[in-house]
């Protein structure tokens, strides 16, 4: 078990090095630099000698492999330097200030989606072909067809403006959270509902479920102990990466509801050629994805006793 864990950590380290290298060189190959973008946005040409001075100041005059090594040396100490675009802010500060909002939004969305998505999935599987099944399919279809930014605007229009139940935006108090969380949960609800339903239907037809009924196990216990617990593996498989996707924030939802999350930074970093921010966001994303996959794999063993991490002797 410890061995397995250590070898997985070593694997994550390898992935990080590979990802950082590829991203770094690709980023440099793409035409245009951070100061060109600033010039364009300020609508004036930055004279070449100023640009050269800036590049020397930020170390962009050195050969690319050397730049990479310098970057990595600092990155290990979590020092990603200053943002090229958001002047006066270090990358670390941006993450510290903005990311907690996105994490909170992501976790709330995950919780809401688990309750709604898995609940609808269980209901649909246990009453196949009856109204709970149609309700679940209807909700899932709605989630599939409705773009989240349109849904977000609709929610604002109806519940914030017409009815006045919730504020249109912000993140100060729990009542601010309701609309963004619902708008953000379309995709997760869809995926969880479908996977729960199909996975439950698989277990439902198993012989051991018949055995449980023959033993006289009450129907509620059959549903949750014998069917649901045996359906968890596929749900876990989609749920892990889903959580990773949620806690890095959402560009649309955060913009529409004026949540000071980190979502927009992921998107704008590339347009702005904000090299340190591009690298930091990529590496953070890599780490989050790797760790959620690791946790998911470890949870398999918890969910299914047949999974073992020992080597066959």
């Amino acid at each position: 078990m410890t061995r397995y864990f250590l070898s997985r950590l070593a694997g994550i380290l390898g992935v990080l090095i590979a990802v950082s290298m590829i991203t770094f060189f690709l980023m440099k190959i793409v035409p245009g630099g951070p100061f060109d973008i600033m010039g364009v946005q300020a609508n004036k040409n930055i004279p070449d000698f100023i640009k050269e001075n800036l590049e020397i100041k930020y170390g962009l005059d050195k050969p690319i492999p050397v730049q990479y090594l310098i970057f990595m040396k600092n990155a290990v100490k979590l020092d990603f330097g200053y943002s090229f675009y958001y002047q006066g802010q270090t990358i670390l500060e941006i993450f510290q200030n903005q990311w907690p909002y996105s994490i909170q939004l992501g976790l709330l969305t995950m919780g809401f989606s688990i309750v709604v998505g898995i609940g609808l999935g269980i209901g649909a599987a246990m009453h196949q072909g009856k109204w709970p099944d149609h309700l679940g399919t209807g909700v899932a279809l709605f989630c599939l067809a409705m773009p989240s930014f349109v849904f977000a605007l609709l929610l604002q229009l109806v519940f914030a403006i017409k009815l006045g139940w919730f504020p249109t935006g912000g993140w100060d108090s729990p009542e601010n959270w309701v609309l963004p969380v619902i708008a953000n949960s379309l995709g997760p609800v869809l995926i969880l509902q479908r996977f729960t339903r199909s996975s439950m239907l698989d277990s439902l037809r198993s012989n051991y479920v018949r055995t449980a009924r023959a033993k006289g196990v009450p129907e509620r216990r059959v549903t949750f102990v014998h069917i649901f617990k045996n359906s968890l593996t596929p749900i876990l498989t989609v749920g892990g990466p889903m959580l990773a996707g949620l806690i890095v924030g959402s560009f649309f939802i955060e913009s529409i509801f004026r949540i000071p999350g980190i979502g927009q930074f992921w998107v704008t970093a590339i347009q702005n050629r904000d090299y340190p921010l591009i690298m930091a966001t990529t590496l953070v994303w890599t780490i989050i994805i790797s760790i959620t996959y690791l946790i998911t794999d470890l949870l398999y063993a918890l969910v299914d006793p047949r999974v073992t991490f020992m080597k066959e002797k």
Binding site: T211, A214, K215, G216, H226, R306
Partner: protein, 321 residues
């Protein structure tokens, strides 16, 4: 000892079937067709027949894991088919089932102890303090090693998995076990061990068995009486020795003829069946066996033979037997 424990009267189980691209054609698949028999305490009734003849469906319908379409099951003096869902669940402990595929029938997430403990807890069998010991005692009776309690079903061999299945059924102290092909998934060497175990347990706990199998030799070894099923009908039922030595129904004769002979040089009159079992959706009129029967006359195409007693306790559904 000789009292009737179980009686089925005209038991029918049919399934609605939809065919065609839009499911526009409705049929009824009759899997169990007016089956009547009785079973005494401590007795074994064997049920034989080829695949798809409805013997497993009959077992599941008696258990009420399938709801009977019509007919009555009387069990232990009560009308089993009239019980409501909750009452049925409470009475379930009296009638337990052993399934064909032992591994698939055990919840893969539960240890052996949990599998056996669960029904005891639900029904409050034994005092809670004694249950853990009771689990070990039952496992010992069924011939499982004592260290098996904390292991998972997939860690055992097929024979041991079936022993776990038997232990699980015994945990509720049932009066009757329905054994649905309990050995057909196992190696021949292991089959004999499980069959002997079942016979020992029967003697020890005065259990009644319905023993379902496609193998007439195994069934004869296990049972005092044998019922032969064909296309959902019980075509012949009688004492095992009589069925084996002087089968009356042409189908039973063919089944017994098909048993492999251990002495290859010995000649035997071969009368193999031609054709396949007709689809239970599209049943032939008259006697269900008529398309494959060598005794077939015009009467068989029109009239389904009623069951009649040709000798003591030996019933046959054939016009010419």
């Amino acid at each position: 000892m000789e009292d009737t424990l179980l009686q089925t009267i005209d038991l029918v189980k049919s399934f609605p079937v939809r065919r065609g691209f839009f499911g526009q054609y409705h049929f009824r698949l009759v899997a169990v067709d007016h089956v009547s028999f009785s079973l005494k305490t401590g007795e074994t009734l064997g049920l034989v027949g080829e695949s798809g003849c409805g013997k497993s469906t009959l077992g599941l319908t008696i258990m009420r894991l399938y709801e009977p379409t019509s007919g009555t099951v009387k069990f232990d003096g009560i009308d089993w088919t009239a019980l409501g869902e909750d009452e049925l669940r409470k009475k379930r402990r009296m009638m337990q089932m052993i399934f064909q595929d032992p591994l698939a029938s055990l919840d893969p997430r539960m240890t052996v102890e949990e599998v056996i403990l669960e029904p005891m807890e639900i029904f409050g069998v034994n005092k809670s303090a004694d249950r853990v010991n009771e689990v070990r005692r039952i496992l010992e009776i069924t011939g499982m090693p004592s260290d098996s309690v904390f292991r998972f079903p997939n860690e055992f061999s097929g024979g041991q998995q079936q022993r776990i299945g038997i232990a699980r059924a015994l945990a509720l102290q049932p009066k009757m076990l329905i054994c649905d092909e309990p050995v057909s998934a196992l190696d021949v060497s292991v089959q004999a061990q499980i069959l002997n175990l079942l016979r020992d347990l029967q003697e020890k706990f005065n259990l009644s068995y319905i023993f379902i199998s496609h193998n007439i030799a195994v069934t004869a070894f296990m049972s005092r009486r044998i019922g032969v099923m064909y296309l959902g009908n019980l075509v012949e039922i009688g004492p095992s020795q009589e069925i084996i030595n002087s089968p009356a129904h042409p189908y039973t004769k063919a089944l017994i003829n098909a048993v492999p002979e251990p002495e290859p040089k010995r000649k035997k009159a071969t009368r193999t069946l031609s054709g396949d079992v007709p689809s239970p959706i599209d049943r032939p009129p008259g006697c269900p066996f008529n398309p494959r029967c060598y005794l077939m006359q015009d009467r068989c195409k029109e009239e389904n033979p009623l069951s009649r007693e040709i000798s003591s306790d030996h019933f046959v559904s054939c016009h010419f037997a």
